[in-house]
């Protein structure tokens, strides 16, 4: 079932690389945002979430800090991991104990050739109301995140490679010097 497959994923997969397509829809099904890019994961808590179209944004976590770099806007925001990772889909894929603490996880049947898991946050001030994860052959293929404001983010992974060797440097960010760096470490989340 879903939860069994998700556990198998955490046990068998230490690193992963994939392409993703992301689409945000509002409660009337209208598309608000579309973007695509690449996702790298290295357990337990390193990841790189990089948008390549229609804009360039890189989100990396080296396990301690979370760096968010928007190339067009020429700004890097740095946050400590605990403050922000809790509220992002990235936590779902890194998994581990932090996930069970943060979410109530139940199997949610099968559809579209995938076994599904439903995750509902235990705390009530998180940014997501519910997250659904569709797994194919015990690997996450689709992620759906319902936020608190009536918007759903659909993410579809493709070209998934399991346990690739990923160089350390992929999880750090070399920040060009003409970029504004906003270091918010120790602040709780974003502008709250």
């Amino acid at each position: 079932d879903g939860v069994g497959d998700l556990e198998a994923f955490y046990n068998n997969v230490d690193s992963l690389s994939a392409q993703f397509e992301q689409e945000q829809k509002d409660d009337s099904g209208q598309t608000l945002q579309q973007a695509s890019g690449t996702f790298l994961l290295s357990r337990p808590d390193r990841f790189r979430w990089e948008y390549t179209a229609p804009y360039q944004q890189v989100i990396v976590s080296d396990g301690e800090t979370f760096r968010f770099y928007d190339v067009d806007l020429a700004q890097v925001t740095i946050r400590s991991i605990d403050a922000t990772l809790q509220a992002t889909p990235a936590l779902l894929l890194t998994g581990g104990a932090a996930l069970e603490d943060a979410f109530n996880i139940v199997s949610a049947g099968r559809r579209d050739g995938m076994s599904w898991v439903r995750l509902t946050p235990r705390a009530d001030d998180t940014d997501f109301q519910e997250v659904r994860l569709g797994l194919k052959d015990q690997v996450p293929s689709v992620m759906e995140l319902d936020d608190n404001l009536g918007q759903t983010t659909h993410i579809r992974f493709s070209d998934i490679e399991l346990n690739p060797t990923l160089d350390e440097s992929r999880f750090t960010l070399d920040i060009p010097d003409d970029v504004e760096v906003v270091d918010g470490r120790g602040m709780n989340g974003q502008g709250r």
Partner: protein, 192 residues
């Protein structure tokens, strides 16, 4: 709409009054539009996120969300009554959304005038200084305490040229907005 279509008299900062008048007319008829973009603010409370804006005549649905779709706010409504939604159980009806939004984000996001600025138009109610280029495109504006610059424009299908990048500064908050996509565009088409 409040733009008075009077004959184009010369105005300080406007290179070609006729081109500006014509461009304003086209933009004023632009009643249905949506944009997808990104916003960054510098200073202490550095914040970066995605902006979705849907405009249907007087009604708008604006969503500002943090990276990966978390946090921020949603403001829906029309001129005089706006519902600002922060989390699923915090919804406020207001006639002054900008104040509420500032409390949510911790910085000022000038929602009401941005409805005009985003299209490259001054908001109704007079302005202190303006500069418009020979093609009738607004390049800079000082209005309502904000200094704005419009460094580049894009020309989406069946629509007049609209800003691709806007920098807004009111002395406290400096906002950079990049528009990635204009869509669902349907202005009143006039034979000209």
């Amino acid at each position: 709409c409040a733009i008075i279509r009077k004959p184009a008299e010369t105005e300080a900062g406007v290179v070609d009054a006729a081109a500006w008048a014509e461009h304003k007319n086209e933009l004023a008829d632009f009643s249905i539009w949506s944009l997808q973009g990104r916003v960054a603010t510098g200073q202490l409370l550095g914040w970066t996120g995605n902006l979705s804006w849907r405009q249907q005549g007087e009604d708008f649905d604006v969503r500002l969300s943090g990276p990966l779709g978390a946090g921020g706010f949603r403001a829906k409504g029309s001129l005089d009554d706006v519902v600002v939604i922060q989390t699923k159980d915090e919804r406020f009806v207001t006639t002054e959304p900008d104040i509420l939004v500032e409390r949510t984000l911790g910085w000022t996001f000038p929602l009401e005038p941005l409805r005009f600025w985003a299209r490259g138009l001054p908001a109704p109610g007079g302005y202190d200084r303006i500069s418009v280029d020979a093609q009738g495109r607004m390049i800079s504006l000082e209005q309502k305490g904000w200094a704005l610059s419009f460094p580049d424009y894009i020309e989406p299908e069946n629509a007049p040229a609209v800003p691709r990048r806007i920098v807004l500064d009111n002395g406290e908050t400096r906002i950079r907005l990049v528009v990635d996509r204009w869509f669902d565009i349907d202005g009143v088409s006039r034979a000209n």
